[in-house]
């Protein structure tokens, strides 16, 4: 990403000739036209000509008039300077949805944001993203967005809404009532200041309610450090990582940043010979657990005693008193020795929302000298600052009628609060209920006023995710609907006339400007808007004291838990998370990185328990009164641990989310002031029915084939070829009668470092967004017809009850001797002189022969018209409402929208290759290495995917291909793939 393309609307507004007045209509007009255009179906901006050619031209033209439909070209009345039709611009912004934080760059084409990329300037995520960030652009075009303000369900104008609300707020103020602003974690410093101002004016309080809270950790830190905070973790500094039930690569605190750090420490390229060792202890099978070097099954009930035992052992090793000896089901001595041997470079984390465990882990980390090395207490992570206890208190107060007004911002307790009924009954007693949601949701449906918020791509915002790490969000599009930022609403109700952008600017000028070296504030501001990032370097004041007493006290009292009881773990998956994005079809169709299931939640059960209970996949059960849910036998699951994903069972959302899966928030408990995500001693009842879960992979063993090649770190150090020995043998047998084709100029190649890939699925969503990959819906996934161009194969190895997990992203291998090309009768798929396996959709007649003959099975057939590209109504299959005009605005105009009956597949993002080549050509220079980045590689938080020109001997890709670890998938078939894989290395050495 060339930073020089990052441009802010604001900056450019200064440049435009009409400086004095706000542009009339501007982008709104643009969107309006876009919609007008959409209605005219065959206009220039949609590339769905296939539909015309697929049927109408061929038949209708012969049959009747032989005339083409007239196409209108409607220019803008006034062309905004910053939008050149047909050219993309990029704006820096920040994605934050209350859970995930990610600085991003938004690609805007013809006025529409169409793709999210990671912002490489961010020191936190360094250009990495995750699936939800990638998918967030589709949220902008969600059919279920609130489109205008409403009073009691009736559309109203902003003025009416404001007047009514201000009246009521003032009335409450008069009588001295209580106003509560209930929000998710807010990391925007300006917003927080604004909220303070709000409550300076109005009586009441701001309560933060997080579905995934870290309140136990805050409690624990309050005890040990005297301050309730979440510290900053440095997985890249840790040589030994021991994690108790912590899905830090998937959902814990800041997964994108952690994945970046974690993978950096596990790369064996560029001469690096070291990698961290990761020991994972958990009951359910998580994404992080499946990536561990050593995964130890631990019943959730025994976690606390194991931590206590570890604390004791480490104390022993360090020669200090650390409580009493505790027996544990795990060989903690070994772990303790390993940890202690890397003192100062070790890290122990626990994800359980339990203050006692957190306390003991604090003590462990203190013994290990982690603080200041792998855990930074001076930098606080501002995510997950919800207070579980305060939320409980609020519900009590609501029921007691003590709350007069409830302002809901970025929360949906009517859906995700465990004691839903209690909340609902309390809500009825609140006189003024104002919801400020983006999408249709359960809570807002009960509110008196709906003041729809902007989507983040339409709004100004700022963020301080960690102490001193700031970022800005700027609108990439004028609001599509009649919405207003929550902050603007608050300002309005406060009676201030400033808009929120000015407010942020003022905040930055006041608080952050002084930390910069720039001379003028405007240039400082413009630069920050342009970059989207500002690292001030400021630190929190910590007195450096550490109080281990509380932890030791806890250690003394730990009771042994029973592993006999069946426990239920409720976890957020990488797709829909807490359910906020459940209405995003890309995420619904995203296969879970472990189970490969999508479009549903289900009860994961260990093979042993399932065998004992006589259960098979898809049998329905009732666990703890959730209701009928199918089971999915999950190898690696602890014997008596069940797991179920939260975020499903939405009742009032759009078409894709409503009615998918079951709401399991009711299972969350509350203990010691913290929300509990594990429920012990649950009843499991077999219901006898079946319910099919759609999975994109149905066979889970490699059948002994050398598909994912593996070695251990020790073996690798001894012989870098280890694990890949078979390649030499294969190469010897590669003989051909034909001369090899020569690729002059460019020969594109991709390498995947299997050691870095965690299977987070960001690439899958990025690819879907970039290449207009259709969403097919559950029914079609059940028929094995998903369309993803890149998939992450996941295989289990070894013991079914505690298998090793390996993953492999597979896209089109762009074989130089491609079997698919030979068999296409109509020459629809051929080889380019740049080594690309090309697919000309419009030539394809759909014999599917290429698909059959592809050994990698990466070709996808459009069994139906999933994208609305066909004029033939009967062909349409759109279970997720992806063909509405609004949804279709996300389509990338540079990529053909495929019609029914054609094959499609990964193109190595040829549109990006061509774009960069053209740019170099226009700039009269050679293409640089690393300039062309396909969507998957761009999205990857662990930089597992490398792309480049194989002909350039100095390129990164050429070095990867020359690596001893490199191999090609099914190389023995002599297909000469352009995709290489670097063997997976596991650090099993102690």
């Amino acid at each position: 990403m060339e930073p020089k393309y990052f441009r802010s609307l604001e900056e450019l507004k200064i440049d435009t000739r009409a400086t004095s007045i706000e542009k009339p209509a501007g982008d709104r007009q643009f969107i309006f036209e876009m919609q007008q255009e959409l209605k005219k179906t065959t206009t220039a901006s949609r590339r769905d000509f296939l539909k015309v050619f697929g049927f109408t031209v061929a038949s209708a033209a012969i049959a009747s008039s032989c005339e083409q439909p007239v196409r209108k070209a409607i220019p803008l009345l006034i062309q905004p300077e910053e939008t050149v039709p047909g050219k993309a611009s990029y704006y820096a912004s920040t994605f934050f949805d209350g859970i995930d934080y990610c600085p991003v760059v938004v690609k805007v084409r013809d006025g529409r944001p169409i793709k999210i990329e990671g912002n490489k300037l961010s020191s936190i995520t360094q250009g990495g993203t995750n699936a939800r960030t990638q998918a967030s652009v589709l949220g902008l075009y969600d059919n279920a967005r609130y489109k205008e303000p409403a009073i009691k369900g009736n559309a109203a104008s902003w003025q009416e809404v404001d007047e009514a609300i201000v009246d009521q707020l003032n009335a409450i103020k008069q009588k001295g009532g209580k106003i509560v602003l209930l929000s998710g974690s807010i990391i925007s410093p300006s917003t927080l200041q604004l909220i303070d101002e709000f409550f300076a004016e109005f009586p009441g309080e701001h309560i933060t309610y997080d579905v995934l809270s870290a309140s136990a950790m805050r409690q624990a830190n309050l005890k040990t450090f005297g301050k309730a905070f979440v510290p900053d973790y440095r997985f890249d500094k840790a040589e030994v990582i021991v994690a108790f039930d912590t899905d830090f690569l998937g959902s814990w605190l800041s997964p994108v940043a952690f994945t970046k750090q974690y993978s950096k420490n596990r790369k064996l390229t560029d001469g690096q010979q070291k990698m961290s060792r990761h020991i994972h202890l958990e009951g359910a099978m998580s994404l992080t657990g499946s990536n561990a070097d050593e995964r130890i099954q631990l019943h959730p009930a025994q976690e606390k005693e194991t931590i206590a035992a570890l604390l004791y052992e480490l104390g022993q090793l360090d020669g200090r008193s650390s409580g009493k000896p505790v027996s544990s089901p795990v060989d903690v001595k070994k772990i303790a020795r390993e940890l202690y041997s890397k003192k100062g470079k070790a890290l122990v984390v626990v994800g359980t929302n339990d203050a006692e465990s957190q306390l003991m882990v604090n003590a462990i980390n203190e013994i290990l000298g982690s603080y200041g090395n792998t855990i930074i207490t001076e930098v606080h992570l501002k995510l997950r600052n919800g207070d579980d206890a305060a939320m409980e208190r609020l519900v009590e107060e609501m029921n007691a009628g003590k709350v007069d007004a409830l302002l809901l911002y970025d929360v949906n307790p009517a859906y995700d609060y465990p004691q839903k009924d209690k909340f609902l009954s309390g809500l009825q007693k609140v006189a003024l209920k104002v919801a400020m949601p983006v999408y249709e949701e359960e809570t807002a449906a009960l509110a008196d006023f709906i003041c729809p918020d902007h989507h983040y791509l339409e709004a100004w915002n700022d963020a301080e995710v960690k102490t001193g790490y700031y970022s800005l969000a700027q609108p990439a599009i004028r609001p599509i609907f009649n919405t207003r930022a929550v902050q603007s609403s608050l300002l309005k109700w406060l009676g201030k006339e400033t808009d929120f952008r000015t407010y942020i600017q003022a905040y930055w000028e006041e608080n952050l400007y002084e930390m910069s070296e720039n001379l003028l504030f405007t240039s400082f501001w413009n630069k920050k808007v342009h970059d989207g990032i500002f690292d001030s370097g400021s630190k929190e004041a910590m007195d450096g004291s550490f109080d281990a007493q509380a932890a030791l006290a806890v250690q003394q009292t730990v009771q042994a838990g029973s592993a006999d009881q069946i426990s239920l773990v409720v976890y957020p998956n990488v797709a829909v998370g807490t359910g906020k994005h459940a209405n995003n079809p890309w995420l619904q169709e995203l296969p879970d990185p472990v189970s490969k299931a999508c479009w549903d939640n289900y009860i994961s059960i260990s093979p042993r328990l399932a065998g004992e209970l006589g259960l098979e996949d898809n049998d329905t059960v009732d666990v703890a009164g959730i209701g009928e849910l199918p089971i999915l036998i999950q190898p690696g699951q602890e014997y008596k641990t069940l797991a179920v994903a939260m975020g499903y069972g939405r009742e009032k959302a759009g078409i894709p989310a409503t009615g998918v899966g079951k709401n399991v928030f009711g299972q969350l408990g509350f203990a010691n002031g913290n929300r509990q995500f594990v429920k012990f001693d649950v009843a499991l009842e077999k219901l006898g029915g079946t319910y099919e879960v759609a999975r994109t992979q149905s066979h889970h063993s490699m059948e002994g084939r050398a598909i994912v090649r593996e070695t251990t770190l020790a073996d690798y150090k001894e012989n870098p070829i280890s694990g890949n020995e078979i390649r030499e043998e294969i190469k010897k047998h590669l003989k051909t009668l034909y001369p090899k084709q020569v690729y002059d100029g460019f020969h594109w190649g991709m390498a995947v470092d299997l050691n870095s890939c965690t299977g987070c699925n960001a690439c899958v969503v990025a690819c879907s967004a970039e290449n207009n990959v259709p969403v097919v819906g559950k029914e079609q996934v059940l028929m094995a017809r998903e369309m993803h161009w890149i998939r992450i194969d996941r295989y289990y190895k070894g013991d079914e009850n505690n298998p090793e997990v390996v993953r492999q992203p597979v896209t089109c291998q762009h074989c130089d001797n491609a079997p698919c090309e030979n068999v296409c009768p109509v020459a629809a798929t051929t080889h380019s002189n740049e080594g690309l396996n090309q697919m000309a959709y419009n030539r394809c007649i759909g014999t599917r022969y290429c698909n059959n003959n592809c050994p990698y099975k990466v070709r996808r057939f459009n069994f139906y018209d999933y994208n609305g590209a066909d004029t033939f109504k009967g062909n349409r299959k759109d279970p997720a409402e992806m063909t509405t005009d609004l949804r279709r605005m996300v389509l990338n105009p540079d990529v053909t929208v495929r019609a029914k009956g054609v094959i499609e597949k990964c193109s190595f993002c040829v549109q990006r290759i061509q774009d960069k080549k053209l740019q170099a050509k226009n700039e009269n220079r050679q293409l640089r290495d690393g300039e062309v980045v396909p969507a998957c590689a761009q999205a990857c938080p662990s930089e597992a995917i490398v792309f480049g020109n194989l002909n350039d001997k100095n390129s990164k890709i050429a070095k990867y291909f020359a690596d001893d670890r490199n191999y090609h998938l099914l190389e023995e078939l002599h297909t000469l793939p352009s995709v290489g894989y670097l063997t997976k290395v596991k650090n099993t050495t102690v």
Partner: protein, 456 residues
């Protein structure tokens, strides 16, 4: 003329030429029988089912089939190969047996050839309907166009287009050239003016002059000479669809001979199925005798055994090659989730034809009829096993899936069966089922006893 002393006469009953004409033309005259109407009703019902399935496929898309990301060809291509195989008998009988001067072919070649043509029409339907974008199917022909883009001559599917269409056209002219003299006979025997006019038009002005006969024989012989390698090439090329691919279970050099013998095997079985019924219904027992049936059964033993050996050879090669994918593919065939299909195939194709070693079974019409149907079923499963079980578990286990057909796919298959029988029933009403002139020419040498010409 040389008469094989041990050979039983091919034509039963004491026939003279006039009688032959009358017997063979009998089914064409008068009103069709009750059975004909019943057959017609059944087969047109099947045809309507097929029409519905065709509509579904075109209007809603290939999505109405049971195919998926891994198994791109299912029943459609299975049926295609099955029908092409059946379409081998006619031309094989006419051409190869003509070259080998097998006289017994004369009674059956006409109907076998007609069956061939209909079977190829049924076969050709499948590659068309299985296309995702049927309406752009014309892309497959190398016609000059403004794109300046031709076709891919490397693709076995393209070879198929050429092979199948050439085979159809050559079989058509072979069949029609053979029909011309008989149509002349029909014309001259016609009672009504319309019939005379129609058959006069169709008979191309045949007179039966000595030079016409002489050149007609030359043409037939050369056509047979051309059709013989053609018939072998067609299934060879169809087998290339699989043999030139990289999929384990498909990528096998044994396929061409194995497919050709399989085709003849299934074709003969289908001819038997049809003729055993037809000879009874049309009172042609004296022309299509047990002798004919027995001769055909012998061909079935031969080709069935070749097929059986081919099955075993495949297994041996899988083991001997040492390629793990190939080995797995074959183990998966025999013991995987589709093992039932494999064992049906083995039973029907390898075991049942061996019963024909017993003369009693070989000459029993009922047994032959039943076994011929078994062979048809077995051969269908052979194609199913090759197409589906090879695809559903190929190289990367992550993509392994199961496949089961949808009602639409079943409908298409039933529809082609309907088409096949409908056209065959029409054929027996409008054309002489047996080559009259050819039968007459062997009547003396192979007839029961030739009565001296009686003077009328």
């Amino acid at each position: 003329m040389y008469v094989s002393p041990i050979r039983e006469p091919l034509i039963r009953g004491e026939k003279n030429y006039s009688q032959v004409t009358k017997d063979i033309l009998a089914p064409m005259a008068g009103k069709p029988s009750k059975y004909w109407y019943m057959g017609m009703t059944l087969s047109s019902a099947a045809l309507v089912f097929g029409a519905w399935a065709t509509f579904m496929t075109i209007y809603y898309g290939i999505g109405t089939w049971g195919l998926n990301k891994t198994v791109g060809w299912g029943w459609g291509i299975t049926n295609f190969v099955w029908w092409v195989g059946i379409g081998h008998a006619g031309t094989f009988i006419s051409a190869i047996l003509l070259l080998f001067r097998q006289k017994w072919r004369t009674s059956i070649n006409r109907s076998a050839e007609a069956m061939t043509l209909i079977a190829i029409a049924c076969a050709g339907f499948f590659p068309l309907i299985h296309m995702g974008r049927l309406l752009l199917g014309f892309f497959i022909f190398p016609y000059p166009n403004t794109r300046e883009l031709w076709v891919n001559f490397n693709s076995p599917l393209l070879w198929d287009v050429f092979a199948i269409s050439t085979y159809f056209l050559v079989s058509l002219i072979f069949w029609y050239v053979g029909l011309i003299p008989d149509l002349g006979t029909v014309r001259d025997k016609a009672k009504t003016k319309i019939r005379k006019a129609i058959y006069g038009f169709l008979s191309f002005g045949w007179t039966g002059s000595v030079k016409q006969w002489s050149r007609h024989e030359t043409v037939s012989l050369i056509l047979a000479g051309l059709a013989a390698p053609l018939v072998l090439s067609v299934h060879t090329i169809v087998s290339f669809d699989f043999a030139t691919s990289v999929i384990p279970g498909w990528h096998t050099t044994i396929f061409p001979p194995y497919f050709v013998s399989g085709a003849v095997f299934s074709g003969f079985a289908m001819v038997l199925t049809l003729l055993i019924v037809a000879r009874k219904a049309l009172n042609l027992e004296e022309y299509i005798t047990v002798n004919h049936i027995e001769s055909m059964n012998k061909v079935i033993i031969l080709t069935g055994s070749i097929v059986g050996i081919a099955y075993i050879t495949e297994f041996f090669m899988a083991w001997y090659s040492g390629v793990e994918y190939e080995q797995y593919a074959f183990l998966n065939r025999a013991f995987g989730p589709y093992a039932w299909a494999y064992w049906i195939m083995m039973t029907c194709n390898v075991v049942t034809p061996q019963l024909f070693w017993f003369k009693k079974i070989r000459t029993s019409l009922v047994a032959t009829f039943i076994i011929s149907i078994f062979v048809n079923i077995g051969m269908w499963f052979e194609r199913f096993v090759i197409v589906v079980t090879s695809l559903h578990r190929d190289y990367l286990p992550s993509s392994w899936v199961m496949y089961s057909p949808s009602l639409v796919e079943v409908g298409l298959y039933v529809g082609t069966l309907g088409l096949f029988f409908t056209l065959f029933l029409l054929f027996i009403r409008v054309f002489p089922v047996i080559a009259i002139a050819e039968v007459k020419s062997v009547l003396k040498s192979s007839g029961d006893h030739k009565k001296t010409a009686h003077h009328e």
